[in-house]
């Protein structure tokens, strides 16, 4: 059977890759080992959060699925960081885990050009350095592009105390043969580790002893395609561990899989188990935990903050010591999971392998962690596989264009020694990479590659027009003194001597768009455009400053490195830099400068070398 693109794995990366390919007109085969675990929210029943929320918005702006789907299964929605500047406002929802899976399966089933099939891929068909297809459940499937999005299923092992389970997450099958095959093809595999807490029964929690956590009153949708959200909210609850909890853990710590030496994989520092927390920060008397609903139709609750690989008996014991959890009943124990992944520095920025043409990698197999990080990579791998089949240049998002650009550049250029999570701190230019303007930044690019629909494109255009017109109106319109001064007096603010333009009023830190409306000088534009206008006006100085930094950054970023460059022959480069550059083959000088082992002096040498080369080419022609 012949396809254009074969996607291996139907997790968050795989489904975005497959949908993107099919929507751009490619014939796509999506293979998964289990149709019942499509888009499984294997850990938190939540989507978004700091940095991650930006990724979801960007995936949406490019024509991906995650945001649309999240909006349909929301149980609670919260904009985080609203007390801070608008650049770090981050959306997060609690999602219905079961409906998320069901809805995604439905979307896949109803997508043209897409075949969804349950089968285990055991082998890649590779000829002359090019991928030709896959062998799955003893059948051959052919395609010039294959995207591997295997998640945490490669040779995975789960650990609960001294119990070692030969399985993927939640007791699902794991895959061993594909790992063997990847090694035969020359890929070096590494072991990463992550963990998840217990799920407990909602009926056995004393909620009076916990703090209720509600969502926003005016929830904002993830997708730019939605104007509002309608759902029945479910609360979360906040609680704390105590010194008794910690004593129990401490007494049993030798039983934890993490400390028994069974686990060889590298865990993430940002995702510490409760064992880690009490060991590394012994002085802390309590650690917080959040109870999150797994879905509207289930009693299972996720205990965020208490990830553990202690024996189930100990998990129950320490949970019982927590106030409100006295009668706790564990439904599924927490566990640690270890799996194979590749070193992402073997990839191009397009996520294609440098060694095997047409083979793409996306998601957790690249050493990342998180649904949103996976979705973003899956989407980009899907887009780039499509562009490659068209003979077009790949779509590479720069660090100043998108969090997705930061994510992929960090993975591919810097590599990672632990499961990689997106954070706003990783983005240097976050004032311009806001979640409110993701469509302005990216929808045109999504439209050019053929993924953004006409409808989405015209919605973005309408927003852009409204935004620009509103800015002009604010600049042109003056406010009469006899309107503004009484208003200022009422607010105990100093009166003005000449009539101000609306824009200068909005620029003041003590004025907001709402004030303009109160003065009768608002405009009939949507809330999201109002927000965007307010941000652009209020933070103009900062945004311009950041744009200057971006310009400097672009200086190196725009200097392309020729593909035929033989770094080994550039005499003045240090040996380490020569070798690193020769294997990594960066796209441009900016990327080269971020490779570890390449010093600023090496970049100067490269600059000089390129200049020399350019001149000698000039004289020749």
């Amino acid at each position: 059977m012949k396809y254009d693109i074969i996607v291996v794995g139907a997790g968050h990366a795989g489904v975005e890759a497959a949908l993107a390919g099919a929507r751009m007109g490619r014939k796509v085969l999506l293979l998964t080992m289990n149709l019942d675990s499509i888009s499984l929210l294997a850990c938190n029943p939540s989507i978004g959060g700091t940095g991650k929320g930006h990724l979801v918005r960007e995936v949406d702006a490019l024509g991906g699925e995650m945001g649309l789907l999240a909006d349909r299964v929301t149980l609670q929605s919260k904009m985080l960081n609203t007390a801070k500047g608008p650049a770090v406002h981050s959306l997060r929802i609690q999602a219905d885990k079961y409906r998320y899976h069901e809805e995604m399966k439905k979307v896949l089933e109803n997508t043209k050009n897409l075949d969804l099939r349950q089968a285990e891929v055991t082998e890649l068909i590779v000829e002359d350095g090019k991928v030709k297809g896959v062998v799955a459940s003893a059948m051959d499937f052919y395609a010039p592009a294959v995207i591997l999005a295997t998640g945490t299923y490669l040779r995975s092992l789960c650990f609960i105390g001294d119990l070692v389970l030969d399985s993927g997450p939640s007791g699902l099958y794991n895959s061993k043969k594909l790992s063997d095959n990847l090694e035969e093809l020359g890929f070096k595999l590494r072991r990463f580790k992550t963990g998840t807490p217990a799920r407990i029964h909602a009926a056995y929690v004393d909620y009076d002893k916990l703090l209720i956590q509600n969502g926003d009153e005016k929830p904002i949708p993830f997708s730019f395609m939605n104007d509002s959200l309608d759902f029945e909210e479910m609360p979360c609850y906040l609680g704390y561990s105590n010194t008794t909890t910690h004593d129990i853990i401490q007494e049993n710590i030798h039983l934890s899989a993490m400390y028994s030496g069974n686990i060889e994989g590298t865990g993430a520092r940002y995702c510490p188990s409760i064992e880690d927390k009490i060991t590394r920060f012994a002085g802390k008397e309590r650690h917080q935990l959040f109870l999150e609903p797994e879905g509207a139709s289930t009693s299972e609750l996720y205990v965020q903050g208490m990830s553990s690989s202690l024996p189930e008996r100990v998990q129950e014991e320490f949970l019982k010591s927590i106030e409100g959890f006295e009668n706790v009943k564990i439904m599924r124990p927490g566990y640690a999971i270890e799996y194979d992944c590749i070193d992402p520095t073997i990839l191009k920025l397009s996520l294609e392998s440098r060694d095997i043409e047409g083979l793409y990698f996306a998601g957790q197999i690249n050493g990342s962690s998180g649904y949103e990080e996976a979705a973003a990579q899956g989407l980009m791998a899907g887009i780039n596989a499509h562009l490659k089949l068209d003979g077009r240049e790949p779509l590479i998002l720069r660090r100043d264009q998108a969090y997705i650009g930061v994510l992929i550049d960090d993975l591919v250029t810097k590599g990672t020694n632990e499961p990689f999570r997106m954070m706003t701190s990783r983005a240097e230019y976050r004032l311009v990479l806001r979640q409110d303007n993701a469509d302005m930044r990216l929808s045109d690019l999504g439209y050019e590659v053929g993924l953004v629909s006409e409808e989405r494109f015209s919605r973005k255009e309408a927003r852009r027009r409204a935004f620009e017109e509103e800015l002009v109106r604010l600049e042109k319109t003056s406010l009469p003194l006899d309107t503004i001064n009484p208003y200022l007096e009422k607010k105990d603010l100093a009166v003005l001597s000449s009539s101000p333009k609306l824009i200068s009023l909005l620029r003041r830190s003590d004025m907001s768009y709402e004030d303009l409306e109160n003065l009768g000088f608002g405009s009939e534009i949507s809330e999201d455009v109002k927000k965007m206008v307010e941000i652009e006006v209020k933070y103009k100085g900062y945004i311009e400053k950041q744009m200057r930094q971006v310009d400097q950054f672009r200086n190196l970023e725009d200097k392309r490195l020729p593909e035929d460059l033989n770094y080994l022959e550039i005499d003045n480069l240090r040996i380490e830099a020569r070798q690193k550059l020769q294997t990594m083959r960066p796209d441009n000088l900016g990327q080269a400068s971020r490779i570890s082992g390449v010093s600023p002096a090496d970049i100067t040498v490269l600059l000089i070398y390129l200049e020399k080369r350019r001149r000698s080419e000039e004289t020749r022609s």
Partner: protein
Amino acid sequence: MSTICAISTSLAEAAIGIVRLSGPDSLKIAKKIFRGADLEEKPRYLHYGHIYRNEDMVDEVLAVYFKGPKTYTKEDMVEINCHGGAMALRRVLALCMEEGARLAEAGEFTQRAFLNGRLDLTQAEAVMQLIQSKTELSYDVALTHLGGDISRKVAQIRELLLGLLASISLSIDYPEEDEEEISYERLRAGMEEVRDELLRLLENSKKGKLLEEGLRTVISGRPNVGKSTLLNTLSGHSRAIVTDIAGTTRDTIEEKIQISGLPLILIDTAGLRDTEDPVEYLGVERSHQAMEAADFILYVLSAEEALIEEDIERLRLLKNREYLVIINKMDKEISLDLDLVYSLVSRENVLFTSLVKEEGIREIEEAILDRTIGKELSLGEPLIQNQRQIGLLNEALSWAEDALRDIDEGQAYDYIDVNIRGVFDSLGLVLGENNPDIMGEVFSRFCVGK
């Protein structure tokens, strides 16, 4: 890669001078022109021999071959110790060029050392200064740089900034964690410390610049009070024409001297007074300008003469400048009203001399040193004197001031963060490095994560 050559020592009269070669052909060229021993057989040894151009002997020399990469430039190098004096050196140099070497551009040896990974950016810049440094003190300052004092100081400031950035990142990336957010007070205290450290470095950089470029010192005063005598006394020989006729010095005269290692550019000006004589008028005009542009002013008064309106006006202008008022001719009868002088200028800036008797000269020198590079200047202190570094430090300072303004305005943390990162990045450029591991810092300091 070409082979370069240069005369690496001063062209001034000296006992010996060195011609240096660096690059792949260094040995080949040296072998061609040097006779007397096999340089290649024993590298790092000083060999006696002669330089020949065909059959003509050019100079009697000592030569040494250094095999790369364990050399200054990491390339093959040859050094030829010739007899001093411009003639011999130039001929040997010309001969190297005839044999295929190219004349090195200023600083090219250091540039190669840097490009070949032998030096970091700060070190390379320090070496460049070493080459250009004109005085003893400046030479020592350049040596301190090489030890990495600036790098250390700047790295310390960055360490402090990294802590602040990590705290901000914590509050932004982990808004719901049970960790205390950094307060505006702590941010302000941290940034004030950073700003003060930067100011200190920049203050020192001014001293560094003085040491390298010299202190432009104008000698000013009415005609015939002893300005030219002062210049001559300080510089140790007679240059300006000294007469008793008022207005003898019609043009400004510059003289470079050194006081305890501090280079001084002394500028003697035409006597300040309104004049009808067009030639002299130009001189007076020029001296006004010289005073404006000066780093330091020595205003000379004569004890014999009472202050006139013009003096009073000038003395008033000295406020906010670095200056000394020198009351000369103390050996003569005193008709100057000292109280009036003290009412115009600060008493501690007034010195008394008798230049003809060579009294009070040392006091002047000490006072100049004291008021410029200061007593506290010790060579262990990092001095930044290079334009690129000063530029970056100023940039860092301006980011730091913006950050402090934001903190005062209670601006959101992510905006303050832009400015703190600005400081951090500018300082990173001083060191030629930039890859902050802010998240690493967060994880090591705080207990966060689901």
